[in-house]
Symmetry: C2
Subunit: 243 residues, 2 copies
């Protein structure tokens, strides 16, 4: 039995998120079924973390214990069985105690947002849209307050039970290309909906509803009501996981 780490890219539009569940199709289940068709094994795969319905991944990672011998052939073999919107990028053997979730050090998310009242046929399912303009300068000013170790309770959706709300954000970069804004956030881990609420708060700063300096107060308040709204899932992409 080998412990294998795999990287997978997926467009989340047509799935009910990563996690296997009743009455809806999760990406996990699709990959586990492809594993069975490919190797005859009923495996359980463990991702670096769940992604919600509609959220995408450029390079999600999962680990799996398998008897399949030729690990280097695994991506091609699985891709023949997977739908076009899920693609295994690579696979490599890892030590037995390696776990895709618990061994992860850093994760980077990308949030795509366009300002336009017409959604493009080419990205309406991978990009959020707003129909007003926002200030890149103000959002960049506000983004500084997120860097470092903080209690991010203000940026966590209600109903989640976690041992601690402390997380470290290593970087938060915002770029603008035409009317496309890309928010790239790297951290040691993220609370439920944390990236989508951070971006929602930055959009409120960019639109003038919140002053950049107020972001510090919002973080300190540890009150979800003070932060901006949760942005739509479709704009969010897990970019990579570092081990």
């Amino acid at each position: 039995m080998k412990n294998v780490l795999c990287a997978v890219s997926y467009k989340g539009t047509n799935y009910a998120g990563w996690q296997k569940q009743d009455n809806a199709l999760g990406i996990q289940e699709v990959i586990e079924n492809a594993f069975f068709d490919c190797t005859g094994e009923r495996v359980e795969i463990f991702a670096s973390g769940r992604t919600d319905a509609g959220v995408h991944a450029l390079e999600q990672c999962f680990s799996v214990k398998t008897k399949f011998a030729q690990i280097e052939r695994l991506p091609m073999a699985l891709n023949h069985l997977l739908p076009n919107d899920i693609r295994i990028l690579w696979a490599k053997e890892v030590p037995n105690d390696f776990h895709a979730r618990f061994s992860a050090h850093k994760k980077t998310y990308l949030y795509r947002l366009k300002t336009s009242d017409i959604e493009s046929p080419f990205d309406f399912d991978t990009t959020a849209y707003i129909d007003y303009s926002i200030s890149l300068e103000k959002m960049r000013e506000a983004s500084k307050y997120f860097i470092g170790e903080h209690n991010f309770k203000s940026f966590c959706s209600a109903g989640t039970s976690v041992p601690t709300f402390e997380r470290i954000i290593y970087s938060l970069n915002i770029t603008k290309t035409g009317n496309l804004y890309e928010f790239e956030v790297c951290g040691n881990g993220f609370l439920y909906n944390m990236v989508r609420i951070i971006v929602g708060t930055l959009v409120d700063v960019g639109g003038g509803k919140i002053k950049p300096s107020q972001v510090e107060e919002i973080i300190n308040s540890q009150d979800r009501q003070k932060a901006g709204k949760t942005m739509p899932a479709k704009g969010l992409t897990l970019k990579c996981v570092e081990y």
Copy 2:
């Protein structure tokens, strides 16, 4: 009755091309139906040219005669009725003798090609893939021979009846970003499958099957058999039409 020019963006993946037809859904029919639902008029719309099944458009143009009074409201009104993969970008009144096809001076097409044995979930329907590497330098050298006025019979699929195979290509630029090659071709008009066969020939040059200088002979031969294969429709996008 007003004569109106509209710009439309569409992802062609789910349609049997632009043209209205029996037993399959064309983009033209979808827009004409939206027109009826919006204005109560049964109109016929005339595009700058047809696009084939699977071909996309960033900014296709069509003209239409309509009694609808508020032209500036037309895009929003139609977009409410159209599917997400078809979007009207703008509409403006034009002289009565203007025709989207016959008044067009220039068209620009974009062909997207990636070199990888794994197709990305995010562009497998808008990008062609090959699993070998190609030389950008050689393709750029070969691209010079296409510029200017030529008889492009070698680059036209069989079975088309046209008065002349003479066309002018104003520019043909190839850019490379990572493993993505983008071929941008601007001309006064294009024969059936012309862009897809030109790109197929350039790919053969890039892969070493054809020498760059042979392209001149291929053009002069006026023989479809001498040119490269027709590249897949999904990589082709009509970028813009100039009047």
